[in-house]
Symmetry: C2
Subunit: 346 residues, 2 copies
């Protein structure tokens, strides 16, 4: 039997340049799709949809059916890890995520067996998606990074300046380091279970990696991420891992690429692709980084920018994506135009 | 008559390394000071206080009296430029700034004489401050940068992702370029008038310079800033100008330093000082960049970080400052501790 050709996304994560590059979009299963909004109304809440494997699998597959993207990413949320640790998590419309603050959780759950039970819906979702996915489409699992999860747990929600986490880290560094260790362990366990359930790739979202001094970045982003990657690789030596330290400085990206051992770095919109090709692509594949607001705007500038990105990354291991999640107001036709531009013969 | 020794801040902006470095803090005239809060209550609104020269001058001088900082920065707001152009500006408690959206301004004011009349309270404030300032204290004026002001004018307020301005810039690039030109002209005029009124230094705040692709940064930040600097220098050839493209990438900072002709770059907290010394200090002086949340936290880590910053910038033209504005909850004692650490004999 002839060996099936590896999926394009996997080839790139293994270091190959593929042309046209594989393409998927952060938050591709989301509110910009009418079929998503219909199911979301049925579910009642975002969290209920995350925790219902049938619905979550359906939503994961919607953008694959509509657009034929090269990867599906499991529909879930980064706050499932705080949930596993004992936080109550809620998503009220227009308020943003809210969760129990770490110091108000009655008893922190430390048993990996309980984590696995609580997060079973995510693994069930992955199994359902896997069985319904076209053979050429890769399946991605994900988790929030320890630092980003710490910002939510310290604050009890999102914050623009990560104040509660920074004050904790600055004022009680040992206790904060313990929190990051616990989070790293739970994140690693969650990624491992997703790989067991059929994810072929996992992405670590450090959505709040901006605004940290170099020493804090080292302490709160690099160290904990290394721990996650090491633990995942111990269980799955060939695990393919994408890191996304969103808003890191260029030196932060460089350090992450050198130190964390990921297969690819997802780049935010501000990272110049030519800089990334020159400075990062010897360490790992690159993913990114179109401005989601340019996708929202559409038009000729969108197509020009896609072409420029392809030219800048030509001959390199590159995955086309956005620099951040697609915004809910994006017309689906703009996604079609994006894919046409990425996949146009050159 | 012996020539008076130049103020420390001026010496540094002229390229000299001064030890200990001059120090001031962004938003040093602000809510963390009880004497500020008392006057703010009397004024009724933030905007009223900005536009009352007696009050604004008093508030400008408060942190100088209390702490003996090396520079006073005029108490004002970046939205005075949109106000000069015809926007109605309001600061409702807990809502953030609100202003007339550009496309809803009945008639855009384009007459520099009218701008000067409308912004006369700022110039009157500077004259009042100048007369009350210790001889060793430098006086700083400021304005928002065209791009940052465009984000407010496009949105009618602040926004986390600069959506309205980006959509305008992506979708109607020629019209957006015209807006930036107009803003650059009004910003330059405002800076020139501040220099005439006694400001010895001016700072250009590009508070929303983060998240821009390299080409947008060039188009929306670098170009308009060059226009501002050129215009100011035409009127005041020896004008001392500090630029602050907050959240720019490191390559963005490098480009700004090379292209904009400023005397100093103010660095946000994420910029590694050793990187800045190596890559920027041949172009201009450096200012920054302690995390305001570390100042809020206080303690030994604050003192250690101050010492590390001084060591990293030793022998270079450097102004000690924060990476962003001081936060209202900061205890005044922490500012005292900061100043002691900066000024301790080494």
């Amino acid at each position: 039997m002839a060996e099936a050709k590896a999926k394009a996304l996997i080839q790139v994560l293994d270091g190959a340049a593929v042309s046209p590059p594989p393409v998927w979009l952060m938050r591709q299963a989301g509110r910009y799709l009418p079929e998503y909004r219909a199911l979301r109304a049925e579910a009642g809440s975002f969290w209920a949809m995350c925790m219902d494997p049938r619905m979550a699998a359906e939503v994961t597959l919607q953008p694959i059916r509509r657009f034929g993207l090269d990867a599906a990413i499991v529909f879930s949320d980064i706050l499932v890890v705080p949930y596993a640790l004992g936080a109550v998590v809620g998503f009220e419309e227009g308020v943003g995520p809210q969760l129990t603050r770490y110091d108000e959780i009655a008893e922190i759950e430390r048993d990996p067996n309980v984590w696995r039970q609580k997060l079973a819906p995510v693994y069930d979702t992955l199994r359902l998606v896997r069985s319904g996915l076209p053979s050429e489409t890769a399946l991605i699992g994900f988790a929030g990074a320890p630092w980003t999860l710490a910002t939510y747990l310290a604050e009890g929600g999102s914050s623009t300046d990560q104040r509660a986490a920074k004050l904790w880290g600055y004022g009680r560094p040992e206790s904060f380091a313990e929190l990051l260790l616990l989070l790293a362990d739970c994140v690693a366990a969650h990624l491992i279970e997703q790989l067991k359930a059929g994810a072929e790739v996992v992405q670590i979202f450090d959505s709040w990696a901006s605004g940290l001094s170099a020493d804090c970045f080292e302490e709160w982003v690099i160290g904990p991420t290394q721990r996650v990657v090491t633990k995942v690789r111990k269980a799955f030596p060939s695990a393919r891992i994408i890191g996304f330290p969103r808003g890191a400085t260029l030196e932060g990206y460089r350090r992450y690429a050198q130190a964390c051992g990921v297969n690819a770095l997802s780049l935010d919109t501000a990272v110049p692709l030519d800089w990334a090709v020159e400075n990062l692509s010897s360490f790992c594949a690159l993913q990114g980084n179109l401005d989601p607001l340019l996708l929202l705007a559409g038009g000729t500038r969108l197509v020009q920018k896609v072409r420029a990105s392809l030219a800048q990354t030509s001959g390199k291991a590159f995955i086309f994506n956005l620099g951040h999640g697609i915004v809910p107001q994006t017309p689906a036709e703009h996604v079609v135009a994006l894919l046409q531009a990425v996949r146009a013969p050159r």
